[in-house]
Symmetry: D2
Subunit: 294 residues, 4 copies
């Protein structure tokens, strides 16, 4: 049940063919190679950036299997297996484990608001079905469910293989509370890009981000400066990359990251409708921001 | 493109077998018959109450086809066809139309926040794909997207077959604004149970509700009193049924309505996990409320 | 301790001299006479509209004393005595009572967030200091404190002379809850102008409003239609006056009501800075709205 | 117009006599001496902690004059001069300047929501009336007004002596935006205690806090570690003092700081009602927290 997930955890996009149809697995492979070659510490397919929610079950399986195989243990693979029913989330978790995932990530996706007891039972059922560690993921903006720190710790304490927490509310006080109430024993990871500096300051063990698709070295350098305890350098590195971090958050990760990959020579198609590809104006802004960072 | 949807629009549950597996179509048929026999003015399958979001595509098709056939034009059928991608929502809308739906309902379901332009394009693409009217559905609590009245009217004016609006924010000012800005030409329907009295006072043409599964006569009487302009009677009827309306909203519609149907002799199974069935304490409260209303 | 406050409760402005300096009591007297002559059922000086919070203590005393004397029991007078400290609120309450106020209104004004126990003690201390009834006033938008219905009922049950509730959250469910939990024994009054129709539908006993300074007959007719249980006429009257109600809320009551009084021939000066008088564009809009209502 | 406000800016309480009546200026003098002797870099009387809003005008003048004289230029004095009308805020600002304040702090206190133009005019009118620098203060929780970063920069650019910004929303992104849009030229200060570590990480020039009344050395050490760029030491110091920072924020600054001063031998009375003094249970918790920090 040990894992040592840390540092820069790179999220992959899911490349589609024309009109958002079909999967372009060769392009996915290239984007994974880029991330690993740049030095990221882990790969996370099928997250928000990966449009996991917009795939059919068959497509989801293909992307999971391909990604894990392609990473080939060069770094750990963390597969997002969230689904609306407990049964379907379990199926995905088992599938990911069976194909070699090192960790699975679970967001309590919901249509009907879930009670704390329902959320705990959901994590327990998934945890009981697999042997790999689970990274609990809190992101009310996409899941509609905001887990309190108290609930998160109940889950961590109650489900053996929930051993890590990804926090994406953007509220640094959650991390403080996790640190204090969790008595520094629960590793937490930051999922809010423009909070990267402060999350590391507060003790985050890693940064879950799609930014390394575009600016891996800046992301890695920020982590290194934080790990070295060099606040002045960390601050300087953070403010340099902040315009890009703000841009990809505000513009939507699939649209902005796909546009950015395309600008750097890797054609990965558009997001699936109703999500629009990045507008021409947006592409111009992105190009301008990226130019200042090279 | 004409339709005359009005009055009490009854939402159906989706009965499952043991452990939430499989569909129980005979029970679905019985629940539909009950609603129609009680006098509701329309039937709406696969909405929030119907756990549409928790079904596989194959199950969704089965429930849609069966429901439409079983209603058999005794009253209009309004099928919720929302899905996360535009392509899948179009597929469902076409399927519903092909099988005889009178109206389709569309909520702009989202994982990534949608811009106004993305939402408009989503409705346009669906509208262009079918010939039946669309009821636009605004419910930020479940969809994560809150459409402004201005956007709603842009869609109504821009997409020919979007001709009705279901408003579920619970904010009566939205209905006022629809009435004023829409120059009394856009029929709106209330989707927030504890707002039933005021929505009719403000001019709502109908009430989209799962309550008629349990208390159809009280719902119908409230509509009749409102239509007759009898405020004192409407108020009295509303406050009588309000404890039940509050209860089913607070307890979650699938769990409470399914429990209530079971208490009145129709076994329809439990909601799908992670949604819990109604607790024993809740069942006791529900029985007590229902007892006072008979 | 009896009182029979009901119907249209007209809020007065506080006229100032040039540059917001000094009080113009003759103009205040004229505005009070207009309201009473138009038929309002009570007069409420020193509320939000009356810029009570922007007066010095000496000015506050002058306005309170003058208003009560000028009304001269033609209708009941309800004086807002809210202040930031309990001691100062008690002083104002006693002053108002000593000068003949029929009712005092108390908002739990706060700088530091107050606990439920602090709010209850505040009302108790004021209640114990006077003999006239208190109208409890909930308006989180101006006071920063939102009292739950449960707290409101604890105060009503625990402080003998708190006998009425003015609700200004704009959330109709608060009134429902007051009606159900209060077992129809706690009279409530609506303080949110664009909720006038629905508040009466839900059983509000009165409407606290500055609108009668400008459109008294429409306000009174809406109340009469509601009292008569005539929903269709109430709805028609409400939608006619709604543009004016929206306008004065959105534009700020002191600025819009003062501008409107000026347009109808009663010069009452400007609000005190930093609050701006109504802009020229706003004055044009207001004139246009008022024109359609005559 | 130069000023070099930085580091730990200590907020003073306002000691009252029995029952919250009268001022205890000797105790105020002692609390000021304690703060200066402990090494704070500036003294700020009449802020939120100082219950400035709860004082009569005469009391406010006394406290301002006494505080400035007692500090006697040992460190800079920053006097909060906020008031509800522009005229009264100007009077206070002039009074403070005339008695030797180095800086005045202005929160756009409001009863009626203020527009951006009204807020800008308020700051301009105050700025034009005095010669000392103004620290703009954003704290929607107490003022009811949330100034956007864009508005803050318009004020800073438009009013010559508004040269510093105190940010108390607790949202670190505001500081990022001030830094980026202000092109690193607008010094900002943190007013949210549990954000102290991250604000320094993000480049805050100082920390406005009442905590040095109780734990000055820890506050000063955190500032020193941040200034030295030593992230590991800053983090360690921050987490040590965080329970105290959380406690004083959650319990209300006047109640908790006054209780803490009393526990350390300086009797300063209770807050003014309706604000309660710290409960006995709270006093026990505070004592326990303080014990671990000595």
């Amino acid at each position: 049940m040990m894992s040592n997930i840390h540092g820069i955890i790179g999220y992959t996009i899911t490349p589609f063919g024309a009109n958002g149809e079909g999967l372009d697995l060769p392009a996915l492979g290239q984007s994974i190679d880029r991330l690993i070659d740049s030095g990221v510490h882990a790969i996370a397919p099928l997250g928000s950036t990966g449009e996991g929610a917009y795939l059919s079950d068959a497509e989801w399986d293909q992307v999971a299997e391909f990604s894990i195989k392609h990473v080939a243990k060069r770094v750990p693979t963390i597969v997002s297996v969230s689904d609306l029913t407990t049964a379907k989330a379990i199926r995905r978790a088992r599938f990911a484990e069976a194909h070699g995932a090192d960790v699975v990530m679970v967001l309590p996706a919901s249509y009907w608001k879930l009670s704390d007891a329902e959320i705990l039972a959901h994590y327990r059922a998934i945890g009981d079905s697999i042997g790999v560690p689970i990274m609990l993921y809190n992101n009310p903006a996409t899941s509609g469910t905001d887990m309190s720190v108290e609930l998160i710790l109940r889950i961590v304490n109650g489900v053996e293989n929930v051993t890590m927490v990804k926090e994406s509310t953007g509220d640094i006080q959650r991390m403080h509370k996790l640190q204090l109430l969790g008595e520094s024993q629960v590793p937490f990871y930051n999922g809010c890009n423009p909070l990267a500096l402060e999350a590391f300051a507060a003790g985050a063990k890693g940064w879950c981000t799609a930014a390394p698709n575009l600016i891996p070295q800046l992301n890695l350098d920020l982590y290194a400066a934080s790990l070295a305890g060099d606040l002045d350098r960390a601050r300087e590195l953070f403010y340099r990359q902040l315009p890009l971090l703000d841009f990809i958050l505000k513009g939507g990760l699939p649209a902005t990251i796909k546009a950015g990959l395309c600008q750097t020579g890797l054609e990965v198609g558009d997001p699936r409708l109703p999500v629009f590809p990045l507008s021409e104006a947006g592409q111009g802004q992105l190009q301008a921001i990226l130019k200042t960072l090279r």
